[in-house]
């Protein structure tokens, strides 16, 4: 719309232009003030009024940011906030949309913390892949903490109890104040340079945010990351998480816990060795038993039994043949015996002496030739006549041949 040379705007157009200008020129502000009024809504958004001596500023923390706040905003709290200006058009009211809120004094610290955290995270200092394994059975543990105080005492006490075979190398440092970060990072570097250690514990007892701040120092964080020796941190209480904790290979909630993580309990280890020893023996015995069973089952296999069966079969056959041979042998002998017997009978009948007993005589010449015919002898030749009971010596008188 254009009237008498003036361009006429609608309310919404004005609002949009102002909104645009605000968002463009007043983004990412850091503002300090006191919370005059603060009300959380069921939606999760928190509405606040910030003020200083002269002015007030409406502000809102939208629920995603409200959930992540480390400090709850309350009326009267002096805060440093980070956010963007914008316009709430329905009311024509400009307001600050807060992303982060810190109690004043800490605001700057947290600003630096967040920035550094983001940077280091991008560089991969917190990544799980770069975490080193904590050795379970160290020979020696390096301890970087205050030379006096409960932290060192707690760690040594736990190690004495759990793992008296582990020795400790201590590097005393300041754990708070302006020199702390330099000393701690130098200690980590020196321990690495010196070596001869399996694990490092970097520890500090609980303290205020400022006390613990040296563990958010970039130098310390980078020294932990660069350490070749695995690092366990035990800094402050469980709720305080420093950038050193993010970077460490293991973050222990307390110094005692750090010592417990650093070394396995000696008694438990001995028990474990005992159980392994037992398993070793059982397993060996089992293997021997299995082999014995295998041998036994092989012995019962057909292959082993077959030869024995064959032997038995052959044995039976041999026995059988032996019997048959003896049988036939006997029958042959018997028949021969019978022949011999009958022959003997015949021979007995033919025995000359038998004939002599019956009164027959045998005549022989001087050369003992049996005389069968008269022409074998001459007249007056000496002849012997054998009779049953003796010999008669006589001379031939006459010979007469039988007429056949």
């Amino acid at each position: 719309m254009n009237i008498a040379g003036h361009s006429i705007l609608t309310i919404t157009q004005v609002a949009n232009q102002v909104k645009y200008t605000l968002e463009k020129n007043y983004a990412n502000l850091w503002i300090q003030g006191e919370i005059a009024f603060c009300k959380p809504y069921p939606s999760g958004h928190i509405y606040l009024t910030l003020k200083d001596g002269q002015s007030e500023l409406s502000a809102v923390i939208f629920s995603p940011y409200a959930k992540q706040l480390k400090h709850k905003p309350v009326s009267g709290l002096k805060v440093t906030v980070n956010g963007d200006l914008s316009l709430y058009s329905p009311r024509g009211q400009f307001q600050l949309q807060i992303r982060n809120l810190y109690p004043t004094g800490q605001g700057e610290l947290w600003l630096a913390y967040e920035a550094l955290k983001e940077k280091l995270e991008l560089e991969g200092l917190f990544s799980q892949e770069s975490k080193k394994q904590i050795p379970r059975f160290p020979r020696r543990i390096g301890i970087i903490t205050s030379g006096e105080g409960a932290v060192l005492r707690d760690i040594i006490q736990v190690l004495n109890r759990r793992a008296p075979h582990v020795s400790c190398l201590i590097y005393p440092v300041s754990v708070q104040g302006q020199y702390a970060a330099g000393e701690i990072s130098k200690a980590i570097e020196s321990m690495n340079q010196y070596g001869k250690m399996d694990t490092l514990i970097v520890g500090r007892g609980g303290g205020s945010l400022e006390d613990l701040w040296c563990f958010n120092d970039e130098q310390v964080v980078r020294a932990i990351f660069a350490s070749h020796i695995p690092v366990i941190t035990a800094i402050g209480h469980e709720t305080d998480t420093t950038l050193s904790d993010y970077t460490a290979d293991y973050r222990a909630p307390t110094p005692s816990a750090a010592a417990e993580i650093a070394a396995e309990d000696r008694q438990e280890t001995i028990q474990y060795l005992d159980s392994i020893s037992e398993r070793l023996q059982i397993a060996s015995k089992q293997i021997i038993k299995n082999y014995k069973e295998k041998i036994a089952s092989l012995q019962n296999r057909h292959g082993f039994i077959k030869p024995r069966l064959l032997l038995e079969q052959w044995n039976t056959k041999l026995n059988d043949m032996d019997y048959r041979i003896k049988q036939s042998y006997n029958s042959i002998i018997n028949s021969q015996k019978r022949i011999v017997d009958s022959l003997q009978d015949k021979i007995l009948l033919l025995n000359p002496k038998t004939q002599l007993k019956r009164g027959f005589a045998i005549t022989t010449d001087s050369k003992n030739n049996i005389i069968f015919s008269p022409d074998q002898v001459k007249i007056n030749e000496d002849v012997k006549i054998q009779v049953s009971k003796g010999i008669i010596m006589t001379k031939v008188k006459e010979g007469k041949i039988n007429n056949a």
């Binding site: 050795p135 379970r136 059975f137 020979r139 020696r140 390096g142 030379g147 006096e148 060192l152 040594i156 190690l159 004495n160 008296p164 075979h165 582990v166 020795s167 400790c168 190398l169 201590i170 590097y171 005393p172 440092v173 020196s190 321990m191 340079q193 010196y194 001869k196 399996d198 000696r266 280890t269 001995i270 060795l273 392994i276 020893s277 398993r279 070793l280 397993a283 060996s284 089992q286 293997i287 021997i288 299995n290 082999y291």
Partner: protein, 75 residues
Amino acid sequence: MPKKQNFEDTLSELQSIVQKLESDSLSLDKMVHCFEDGMKLMKICRTQLDEVENRITTLVKDNDEFSEKSGIKQS
């Protein structure tokens, strides 16, 4: 620790021997070897645990030279 065999390595070697034995596919010869090796490693482990060192020393650096002083000393 330098030179001395690392307890952890010894222990994991021991564990793998036990697993090998328990896997039940070993020849008798190998079994005997494994068993002997296992008992040897077991002895090494126990000896290392028995060596109660518990030395507490403090690292001191003078002119870039490291040295260890016994006990807890303030730098």
